[in-house]
Symmetry: D3
């Protein structure tokens, strides 16, 4: 048997018929911001870890140019509203900041599910997200990194295999459920 | 005849007497934000183009430092409120993001007009903006770039000539209308 | 007498008993933002100075990637609500922008006080901030920089000495007031 | 017939037996650098285009913090040694710089070839690179972007299809040549 | 008399006939680099000042992403070879770095001269640089900033006036010397 | 007993008499550079880890603006000359790059030693570096982070205590050896 062009992306669309519910969720989150010019990169990285440990959804830094030629850092924290207080506490405890700006903001998120797939390198999880008219399959980084390290092969090769396995599993499910 | 110092900036102010209406407009726009750590620079640039094509007023990226040493990208989209839905759709289609933050925000914009001027290198458009007590003349980049390429001369020389022609034209108009 | 391990951090906590009032203040501030792609770094730095001179609380720049491969600048101004109008005026006067986005935002700030301390290198001010369960002492940069320059010693050595003196003075005060 | 897990990465390795020559090339290139603080983002982007048009292999900008709070740009040009003179000329013509640093530097490059593949969306080129023990297939961005735009589908879906077609074509070739 | 389009850029080229010598100089400079992750933005800015005071030609910072999610700073110093030792000393004194990378590098610089011009706002210096077939006139930032502050007018207006005066003065000189 | 101002920085200098050898070492290292525009932040972070695991001394990323509005990443690897080959191999295996630039470069490093100190929070290591006329004591980040986490106190407080203990231990040693 020769090599056949996969019709995967066309088939993939059938999967969408499985999910009748709306694929978008709306929620309110808190955004905290503070800029610092008298902290070290070490201490900022530690603060980021502490924030994630205390329930922040995401934390990121941006290099900013400040007065007096200072290349400071703007730290942004995105957290559920009920974690705002604890995240503020972490910021006032671990950073040198004297002020934190905050706001509530709306966020639209996709419905997603995690499932495990089997590849030639071992098992790994994928995140399946329902989008507007199609689905995407995103391999879980940590699982792929572990497989790549233990097999001593390029990460990208593992990610490709996991993504591929995720797409195939999604299609099988679609075929089954549509019969 | 010798070289005479232009009194252009003083004269320029007379132009303002032409415009009696307020020079500032207030409007509500939508700001969409999403940070990504599993997209390539190519795909992000493509997304920016698609967003502009679908009505975004401006789109920009910022390098951010994320958890686990990832140097991700924060993508910001500024669009009219009636383009928010389509821009969100583009984001969910072209990026790997699972969530988009959005907010409505006020924006003050200057009254501006586009007019064409003639220079020794050819025609080019300028954008004239009424500010608080004076006007500014900004050469249209694409026109200047085209003239610079076709004449094989530095862009800055074309921009200077176009700006100069724009200021002169603005002054003539002011003199005419004030007579 | 030998060298004794300082018990400073434990003692420092006693200081908190001095202050009975809440250590957090809530206030509303204005945030102005504008992105530019046709200004020079010189002109942006000048604008930052002018904004601070006219009452901005903080101003910072961020490198952004814009359409058509332009590496522009996002300029953010944080100011008291009663300085918003003048800061907008400075932006429309000193930058090429045609539009400014603005919003009111809440900010939590720590109660802080400035006091002067004496070190082996001379006098310097420190900023004392009451946090959740402890205090921090931050040396004033300008004072330390001046001492470092005049003594021709590393800045960090001066900052350490000033911070140390600040912590000792804070502890003495605590002991006195608690007696 | 059901969905079968592809054994593609294992098969792919066979392709390497085709190429007996060394896969790494060593060459000398010129690297030009200059930092600017009095140019606009527009003019820098124009300079980048001009440099690429005149034979630069790659050009990139980096945001830098300079003296007096200026957020300038470091412009780096990588070019073949015989294009150094013309690239310097472009820099002195299009930028405000008064000085250009340059050095010759060694570069190792992978052997690569371009070939065209057929997908359900149309034809596109892929770049095949021989690495240490395996090959990679990289879809040509412009081709994928064109297909995505004309079919109105996500870029990533086209890139996946093109990459997949490239890998399949590479494997067929391997099988044929090894028979 | 009406407004006449200036033929300035054409005339400007005549200036070049004044200067018979080559307009490019080649020199060797030292480049020092060090990355830090445990310094504050304040201390880095102080170090930059100290380096410039001790003879560095230019100093700049770049935000870098380091291991363990640290957003550190790469500090680059460009100095004459005979200032390398003192600049290294400043780096080891003012930064926390344990290692400095250094190299000698070639640099091409343009012949330039400083001269003073008179404008409606007062006197200011301009830097005239001979380029390949034309000259550029760059207003000195500090002079323009001072005039803008004292007249309370936009910096860009002063810079335009100074540049214009510089170009006119250059042309007069050209005409005189060519007669 | 009252609080006494420590004379520590003066005493500290005596430590230098201990070390008679030169405090600076010169060595040759390899610097590898490559810029990428078609990798994800996840894959770049993984590559950084792999490089450090294979003997790189330091690895860092810089956000760069590339052609076609792409915000890519410049990856820099600093490694001992005998690790250059393996680091190149990791780059060609884990990144999408088709070319790596490399050069040998000189580096001056300070003599340093690691020793353990005891604080009220537990044991931690410090790095002592001999500089020009003085020593610096830098707390080991991982040790401090572990103590801060287990005691649930601010990282900065632990770092201050460890630094302080390191300075005191250094002074004791100095006094002993100088007697």
């Amino acid at each position: 048997m020769g090599w056949q062009e996969q019709k995967k992306s066309l088939e993939l669309d059938k999967v969408l018929s499985i999910r009748k519910e709306p694929y978008l969720n709306n929620e309110t989150i808190a955004v905290l911001e503070t800029q610092v010019d008298d902290m070290t990169a070490q201490a900022i990285a530690y603060t980021m870890e502490e924030l994630l440990k205390h329930g922040a959804l995401d934390v990121y830094t941006q290099a900013i140019g400040m007065k007096k030629s200072r290349s400071g850092i703007l730290l942004t924290v995105i957290c559920p509203c009920d974690r705002q207080a604890i995240c503020e506490q972490v910021l006032f405890r671990e950073t040198t900041t004297l002020g934190i700006r905050y706001r509530l903001q709306e966020r639209k998120t996709l419905f997603r599910e995690i499932c495990e797939v089997e590849t030639e390198y071992g098992k790994a999880r994928v995140k399946i997200a329902w989008r507007d008219g199609f689905c995407t399959v995103q391999p879980e980084y940590e699982d792929c990194a572990n497989l790549a390290r233990s097999h001593n092969i390029p990460l990208i090769r593992v990610q490709d295999a996991v993504k591929s396995a995720g797409e195939i599993s999604l299609q099988s499910r679609s075929l089954t459920e549509n019969t």
